[in-house]
Subunit: 384 residues, 2 copies
């Protein structure tokens, strides 16, 4: 049975639903991965896309020049406004976004863009020539067929790199993401996915160097593989995003435990259906997101597992249905619910399937620190 | 083939992804349902939860006293700040939210709350006694076993209504929602669901009146049933939310056509995978939501269908996968995609599965009017 007295906080004055962050668990998660990656000789470049709050930035980034990854130009602009200067924008670049990237570069922010097509390289060179600007760029490598990128041994990799290297852009290296590692459920397959990610990145870097193209940055990472590396020789940096908050997907994969999950949604029981054995809660997809990322895991957690205010995990119930502002808590194994234990008006925590998605539904997070009993409100960066 | 020149707008200067609203289609949808319901002798009480923007309120509400439904107290507070006074808060009430409801009531806003348990009725009476305040209240009726509410013939309905009627609250009537109508895919079953909703509400109202409890408001509605009533005799009002924007779920149910969908996400092609036949777009779940509401419909639309900039629907492709900021467009029938027709940098519109969910991912909507070529930015109400 799950026991975690850290879930007991004096937050009863806040209206539900709201996103609750246990700051000490969050800091512990950050520290754990930083130590692990630095111990293996690489830098950790956290992905800002999960937390996306300037209030959290000082915990992710120990110095203004510490490395960070972003998923939107908006995040980069927000970080730059606070003096952070070492950024990778890790979504394929399109022409329309270059003026904003250019503006950041002219302010002294080293923002690197990502691409995997000849067309994008041409756009980048053209933009650089037209605007007298040198855009730092990485090429995305496909290590496992999951999404975008170029295979490490593809001649296209050399073609694009040469276009950039001899053009106006500043080609800096390669980046890959083991998206398929989300389908690993034991340590052996996690290690295999991690090894494969490392090998693909090294292969791409060597391929470039053999063609006399320098490859300064060799960037890899996903939260599952980031916790599973054994050797990072030749890798300059590791990226991971959800590891700060963690979630049920990551618990299902096995890189965290349920009591490592720092983010949850606090909700109120607003009704009972005794005939059907349901509790109604005031957290629907608007507060939880519609993410069903555990659907294909060995343990399907519905729309989230529940913890009561004493810190106890409800073992036989989960959020089985969500509407916009309603969630339905039902049994997963036919066992009946103790309605007296969860009266109308009582509060529960919903642990998220996917913390990135759940956090994205909240403009503010309520952050509680068990060490000094403080309560902070963190503001999320919205939009693109 | 779908042709809609209304999708051609001069929005190329906006960075993607963004939520695009075709104002003329939106207004046409609003007008269609208003006329239909008023023609049947009832009032239309739009649900604000889909659009959730004060900029849209004047189109939904012709007068400050026009009826509106909300899903959060925050929406009610925003509407009240603009002088709107006739509100139903249609999510089961919990004690913590009563002080904010009370504050609205003291400002002269008629905000009615909803409940379906004895506990909530007791809380309401207690609150009214303690705070010298009369809270207007409706009882939720379960017409089809979908979610919350009390069966219309249940003795519990009378018990709760009597508690309220003889207590400090102001019992005003009944409210029901045919949630199961989302599973209808032909006109006969839509009409049956609509009839059933009407009958359940009338039965509950008669049940109360036979027990000498007045029942002034008889409120019903869901977007599928709202377009399918034949007789609203005895019904005072109809609620519907998504009918302004419409979406692929509603097109699948058959209450709109694809060219009635007023909201879409504009996205840019950021990559090609020619081997797999994929286009990468810069709209992932962060812009589209993770809603898979068409998954169980006869036509599963993945994470959304696509329209090119000439207004043509892509018949053989849809968004098949989403990550946070990436979408993958793939074939649904094995037919290959014309990469030359969709080069890196070109724009597409993604039609949403569920407009409520897609709109919820955007703090602002870009609203284009084909009549006067105007462009407005509407601001969404965030939080609870």
């Amino acid at each position: 049975m799950f026991k975690n007295s850290e879930f007991k906080h004096n937050d009863e004055t806040l209206d539900t639903p709201f996103l609750f962050v246990d700051k000490q668990i969050f800091l512990r998660n950050l520290e754990r991965l930083r130590k692990e990656i630095e111990g293996l000789g690489a830098a950790l470049r956290p992905h800002f896309k999960t937390v996306k709050s300037l209030d959290a930035a000082p915990y992710l980034l120990l110095e203004k020049a510490s490395p960070i990854t972003v998923s939107t130009v908006k995040e980069a602009e927000a970080l730059a406004s606070e003096g952070y200067t070492n950024i990778i924008y890790a979504v394929g670049i399109s022409a329309e976004k270059l003026p904003r990237v250019h503006q950041l570069l002219s302010k002294g922010v080293e923002i690197r863009v990502l691409l995997d097509t000849v067309e994008q390289a041409q756009i980048l060179n053209q933009y650089g020539n037209d605007n007298h600007c040198t855009v730092p760029v990485l090429i995305e490598i496909d290590c496992d067929g999951h999404r975008g990128g170029i295979r490490p041994d593809s001649p296209l990799l050399i073609n694009i790199a040469q276009l950039l290297h001899h053009g106006s852009a500043d080609f800096q290296g390669v980046l890959t993401h083991a998206g398929e590692s989300y389908l690993c459920f034991d340590q052996a397959s996690l290690r295999a996915a991690a090894d494969n990610e490392v090998k693909a990145a090294l292969k791409a870097a060597n391929h470039l160097r053999c063609a006399d193209i320098p490859c300064e940055i060799v960037s890899i990472g996903s939260t599952p593989t980031a916790h599973s590396y054994q050797d990072l020789n030749g890798i300059t940096e590791v990226r991971a995003g959800v590891y700060g908050f963690f979630d049920l997907i990551m618990a299902g994969i096995g890189v965290c435990n349920i009591n490592d999950i720092a983010a949850s949604v606090v909700t109120t029981v607003i009704g009972h259906n005794k005939e059907k054995g349901w509790l109604f809660i005031d957290a629907g997809w608007m507060a939880l997101s519609s993410d069903r990322g555990t659907a294909n895991q060995p343990k399907d957690c519905g729309y989230g597992l529940l913890i009561d205010r004493s810190g106890k995990l409800l073992l036989h119930h989960q959020v089985i249905t969500v509407n916009q502002e309603h969630g339905i808590v039902g049994s997963v194994d036919g066992s009946s619910i103790d309605f007296d234990a969860y009266p109308v008006g009582c509060r529960l925590h919903v642990l998220p399937n996917h913390a990135c998605a759940t956090a994205s539904m909240h403009a503010h997070y309520h952050v509680f620190d068990t060490h000094d009993n403080s309560h902070e409100v963190w503001t999320r960066i919205l939009g693109w």
